[in-house]
């Protein structure tokens, strides 16, 4: 049996076009992620949309729809003009803000805003801050624990040339307060000051404590870090966050045995995010995070 150029051309096209059509018919031809965040599986907020699952490819409309937040409010919070744009274009939209090194307003800032606005849990990245406009809205309408909102507002950044919004909001709160859920990470240096300004993060033994009061947050912890005026933001490397994988933990020098000891004798595959593992195994990420961070810090020494 012989294949000529013509028959091969036909075969190639039929194979690929036919394969794609068949995959479409079977529902396998998916070229983008769904625009609905995953639901929280366990705990008090089970069944609610998970702010941590907001992705850069979501539009503001998608977020509005999923979390029931007025789209105008979202746009106002982040200074966006078109609700059909994607969240990952936020960096362009906040260009007018002069952000200090190691600090960013990106998709995770949107997750944080949504979490604080709705009272749903989310553990933000260490470098995440909110724009001042978002903080103002949260202070006014946020449903999360007031202390959490104020802590986030304390780190919010103002447009270039001004200082961060620390003073108005921060009067009542420490510079940075870590929490199991919606806590921002340690505060960075003020944006407007000199480029030489450094910050130093001091990690405290962050023991998790049961949530005392609000129905919005499941737990709260001791301050995860305190900030002094002259400090330097410790970079994500070596810092356990939601996206940290088991592979990264191992790379940072934490032994498999130690990880297993924290996770009750189990460990996930290297590419798996620890947070996903915690969710799957119904473990408290905040507690695991703290213990693992201690191991990482120990390994560093």
């Amino acid at each position: 049996m012989k294949l000529t150029i013509r028959t091969t051309a036909a075969a190639v096209i039929v194979l690929f076009a036919g394969g794609i059509l068949l995959a479409s018919a079977l529902g396998f031809w998916v070229t983008e992620s769904t625009k609905e965040p995953a639901k929280i599986k366990t705990g008090e907020f089970a069944g609610m949309p998970n702010p941590s699952d907001i992705r850069g490819s979501y539009t503001w409309n998608d977020i509005s729809k999923s979390f029931g937040i007025d789209v105008g409010l979202l746009m106002q919070a982040f200074g966006v003009k078109d609700a059909s744009t994607k969240v990952n274009t936020l960096e362009e939209a906040v260009k007018s803000l002069s952000l200090p090194p190691g600090v960013e307003i990106g998709t995770d800032a949107v997750r944080l805003f949504v979490a604080l606005y709705t009272g749903l849990p989310h553990t933000p990245e260490e470098s995440t801050v909110l724009p001042y406009t978002a903080a103002e809205i949260l202070l006014r309408e946020g449903k999360a624990d007031k202390a959490l909102i104020e802590a986030a507002a304390a780190r919010a950044v103002k447009p270039a040339g001004t200082t961060p919004a620390a003073e108005p909001a921060a009067s009542a709160v420490p510079a940075a307060t870590g929490t199991a859920n919606t806590a921002p990470a340690p505060a960075p240096a003020p944006a407007a000051s000199t480029t030489k300004t450094k910050t130093e993060t001091v990690t405290a033994p962050a023991a998790a404590a049961p949530a005392a009061t609000t129905p919005q947050t499941a737990t709260a912890t001791q301050p995860a870090a305190t900030t002094t005026t002259e400090t330097h933001v410790e970079k994500p490397t070596g810092t356990v966050v939601g996206k940290t994988t088991f592979g990264e933990l191992k790379q940072w020098g934490v032994s498999v045995e130690d990880i297993k000891a924290v996770l009750g004798g189990k460990i996930g595959p290297d590419p798996m995010a620890i947070k996903d593992f915690a969710t799957q195994n119904e473990l408290s990420f905040s507690e695991i995070k703290t213990k693992l961070q201690e191991l990482v810090d120990k390994a560093k020494k």
């Binding site: 294949l3 150029i5 091969t8 194979l15 394969g19 794609i20 070229t31 983008e32 744009t85 590419p271």
Partner: protein
């Protein structure tokens, strides 16, 4: 008669060029529209799909994570897995047709080879010493192993930062790493001297598909009794395969481009053709090797 016959015979191979150009345009438009969408610019009537969504190699590197955890590598979608499966099936059937017919980056290098041929004439594609060339051709398996391993342990698309293909279609988006630009520049430069340098020496997906040349169902066969040993097939092969060395081409670098066949370079009808291979014919074949 031979001359006019050749002219006629050369026509069918143009079909491949048309198919290649069509896939190139399709991928370029799809990736561009997707990148514009990412920037908030919506193009009416066009649906953009990210390059990751239509890259079969993205599916390949996701296999490990898919089988062990049940999820896909970051940025990879189900469509990539579908294309990977189709690609592997097509390779089992006809060898790396993706490389010779579909891959837009292969097409891009092929177009650049036109410039090289004009510059160097017959010397083009013969600059790399044979011994070195033979060794370098296995480099892509090292790349494949590294990419698969690193992707498996990190869960990230590790090759993106070094991928000249990604750099080509996204060079204007600001989403390309410096290493990607360097890789692209290097490939462009090398393509002026060597045909398809990335395919030959570095492409991890080509490496995987190339393995199928050892047992593909339809392969390139040379009919020795009618062969006049003119070496036209060897000269035409963009991958420098010694087609004349055996009865069948089983070289891991064959891209099923048909350039060596009697429909293109070979002047004798029915002498170099793509037919069902050994398992069916039960011939004892001598394997063709690289020049």
């Amino acid at each position: 008669m031979k001359k006019s016959g050749n002219a006629l015979q050369r026509k069918p191979v143009r079909i491949r060029y048309i198919v290649q150009a069509a896939f190139f345009v399709l991928v370029a438009v799809t990736a561009t529209v997707s990148a514009l969408n990412e920037k908030g610019i919506i193009i009416p009537f066009f649906k953009g799909v990210s390059l990751h969504g239509i890259c079969p190699f993205g599916g390949v590197v996701s296999f490990y994570q898919l089988f062990t955890i049940g999820t896909l590598t970051k940025k990879v979608h189900e469509s990539s897995v579908v294309l990977a499966v189709i690609g592997l099936l097509s390779a089992l059937l006809m060898g790396p047709v993706i490389c010779g017919w579909i891959c837009p980056f292969g097409t891009f290098q092929q177009w650049l080879s036109g410039i090289g041929k004009r510059l160097f004439g017959r010397k083009y594609n013969t600059f790399v010493p044979r011994k070195l060339d033979r060794v370098l051709r296995f480099l892509r398996y090292g790349v494949l192993a590294w990419v698969l391993y690193m992707t498996a342990i990190t869960g990230k698309l590790i090759f993106q930062d070094y991928d000249p293909y990604y750099a080509l279609f996204n060079f204007w988006t600001g989403d390309v790493a410096v290493t990607g630009y360097i890789a692209l520049a290097l490939v462009i430069l090398l393509s002026l001297f060597v045909e398809r340098p990335f395919c030959k020496y570095a492409c991890p997906f080509g490496a995987l598909l190339g393995i199928f040349n050892l047992f593909r169902i339809f392969g390139i066969r040379r009919n020795a009794p009618t062969c006049i040993s003119c070496k036209a097939c060897n000269r035409a092969c963009p991958m420098n395969i010694d087609v004349m060395a055996g009865k069948a081409v089983k070289d891991h670098q064959c891209i099923t481009c048909f350039e060596c066949t009697s429909e293109a370079a070979c002047p004798v009808p029915a002498t170099v053709e793509m037919t069902a291979l050994p398992a069916i014919t039960k011939d004892h074949e001598r394997e063709g090797g690289a020049k």
